[in-house]
């Protein structure tokens, strides 16, 4: 973890309201799939904003972010050469799976799952990546390792399977969920569905959570999530953001 002033290399709208932001990285520490960073919005609004890494190569890294509120609106007008104040890498990465990785990405969970999928493919896994979205316009063209098997699900059927990722996993497929290990990032309701599928199939499931954060380094205990452990609350920023889904108290 360190704080650096990164130069923007690229900032491009890759799907409706989804941007890929690429920037210089000093290599003092190497981000791993599932880890995240925070960017200082320079006063508008006040608090730093967390985003998961979507790629890393020596000297540069990237995130995929959705334009949603004040901070991301501000980021969307960044141009090549602008400077951003970045703190990272933060949190714990995904744990390497024992079985075939079944990666589930929903909405803004896309960035970290792309990173994870590529990383696993480069490390001789054969990941399955399931990408869910409301419709086709929200899914960018993905820059993926060819060893990754990609499936799309859209609510309106405009791309791939018609229905959400849970419905997709419940349908006829050319792989068996019970041979896999789930790694997921996306909306809470999707993660909960992933957890339930994992329980039903008796497989492992890692989920990457989101909570409102203040410090993002583990100091303030603001970003906690309720667990099934003795320690009732765990910090998403420091103890997560990746958790074994069985540790989370799902509501």
């Amino acid at each position: 973890m360190n704080q650096q002033q990164c130069k923007v290399l690229k900032n491009m709208e890759i799907a409706r309201d989804y941007y890929e932001l690429e920037f210089t990285w000093d290599n003092k520490s190497e981000p791993k799939p599932g880890q995240f960073l925070t960017i200082n919005p320079n006063g508008v609004p006040l608090l730093r904003r967390p985003f998961a890494f979507s790629s890393y190569q020596s000297g540069k890294a990237a995130i995929i972010y959705k334009k949603i509120g004040m901070a991301t609106k501000g980021f969307s007008v960044l141009r090549e050469g602008d400077t951003i104040d970045v703190l990272g890498p933060l949190g714990n990465p995904f744990t390497l799976p024992e079985k075939r990785p079944l990666l589930i990405a929903g909405g803004i969970g896309l960035g970290p799952m792309i990173f994870t999928a590529n990383y696993l493919a480069e490390n001789s896994y054969s990941p399955i990546l399931v990408v869910g979205a409301r419709d086709k316009s929200l899914i960018p063209e993905l820059n993926l390792n060819s060893a990754i098997k990609v499936n799309y699900c859209t609510d309106d059927g405009s791309l791939g399977f018609k229905g959400n990722v849970a419905e997709f996993l419940g349908s006829q497929r050319d792989f068996s969920v019970s041979d896999c290990e789930i790694m997921a990032c996306g909306p809470h309701i999707m993660l909960k569905a992933c957890h339930e599928i994992a329980i039903k199939n008796n497989i492992e499931c890692q989920v990457s959570l989101e909570e409102m954060m203040a410090c993002a380094v583990g100091a303030c205990y603001g970003c906690v999530v309720e667990t099934t452990l003795d320690e009732k609350y765990k910090r998403v920023c420091k103890d997560g953001p990746v958790f074994n889904s069985r540790v989370i108290k799902w509501t």
Binding site: N40, L46, L47, L87, E211, A214, Y221, G222, C223, Y233
Partner: protein, 302 residues
């Protein structure tokens, strides 16, 4: 240039500290800045027994501020002694000041009794103002009589500095400050968070579980500066100013208002380097304005 700040019979090496609850014990931030350069770390609150803290959500953002209701999540005295003291012992130069919280006089007393033997504990900051823990309706720190009694009880338990931390959520903060001084406090920290609330108009519910929480950040700076100014006119013990300090200019405002030291809180979240830039900025200002010691700041506003 003399940056030292005297509290009781001890000295902080400089007037810049980090505020309780925003900096842990400094472990996390130690990866990012050299905490040995700081005057003090005011630690997370310690209570006698472990506390898991409040249900979530605990945080929300407001215009130039944030609201928290962490609920004093901490490992209790045992957790402190086993898990934190080793780190405390590793810190040089920077004073480790333990923020103490409780809901009864005994709870406060017990914390001090149980940790006072630890040499690396420089002193105590007594949180009588946490808006998230209440006894009998109102926060402890709003009643001068109770505050004076608590102060003198704690004062007798230790030879280390006892600093009382005040809430701004009172009709007249100076009456509470005067009670602290009368009770034998060595210094006053001023201010804790301001009571605030935010509602998520999409969910039609309060943004944090506890509904109301503690507002901090730049939005409350004017409240903190007013409190420090008014309190320093009424007491002669040192006052440590905080509330919304984002940069050196803000810290200098507090020093000119009468503070002898300052704490950086919410700003750590936005730029972990803030305490260092504040310290450097204070030094520059002193050079440019011919000030040679911290008390020189107090010559301008009467």
């Amino acid at each position: 240039m003399d940056l030292k700040v005297k509290i009781r019979d001890k000295f902080l090496q400089n007037p810049v500290g980090t505020a309780s609850g925003t900096y842990g014990y400094g472990e996390e931030y130690g990866e990012l800045i050299d905490i040995n350069k700081l005057g003090a770390i005011f630690t997370k609150a310690v209570t006698v027994l472990p506390r898991e803290g409040n249900p979530l959500p605990r945080l929300t953002e407001t215009p130039y501020g944030m609201i928290n209701s962490i609920g004093l999540a901490n490992g209790g005295v045992d957790g402190f002694l086993s898990k934190k003291v080793p780190f405390l012992n590793s810190v040089k130069n920077c004073a480790m000041i333990i923020n103490v919280a409780g809901s009864t006089e005994d709870e406060y007393s017990n914390v001090i009794k149980m940790i006072d033997h630890v040499d690396s504990v420089w002193g105590y900051e007594i949180n009588i103002s946490c808006p998230n823990v209440k006894t009998g309706g109102l926060a402890f720190g709003t009643d001068p009589i109770q505050v004076e009694r608590l102060t003198s009880t704690l004062r007798k338990l230790t030879n280390k500095p006892v600093i009382m931390k005040l809430t701004p959520n009172v009709t007249d903060i100076t009456t509470v400050a005067v009670a602290c001084e009368a009770g034998g406090a060595d210094a006053i920290s001023c201010i804790n968070t301001v009571m605030g609330m935010k509602i998520d108009i999409h969910k039609k519910q309060p943004s944090i579980y506890q509904k109301t929480g503690g507002l901090s950040g730049p939005a409350i700076k004017p409240v903190g500066v007013a409190a420090v100014y008014r309190v320093t006119k009424k007491v002669s013990i040192p006052v440590i100013g905080l509330g919304g300090i984002m940069n050196a200019d803000d810290a200098i405002e507090y020093l000119l208002a009468g503070a002898s030291a300052i704490q950086v809180g919410t700003a750590n979240f936005i730029d972990p380097n803030t305490p260092i830039t504040v310290l450097e900025g204070i030094k520059d200002y002193m050079i440019n304005n011919g000030l040679t010691k911290i008390s020189d700041f107090h010559n301008f506003i009467l």
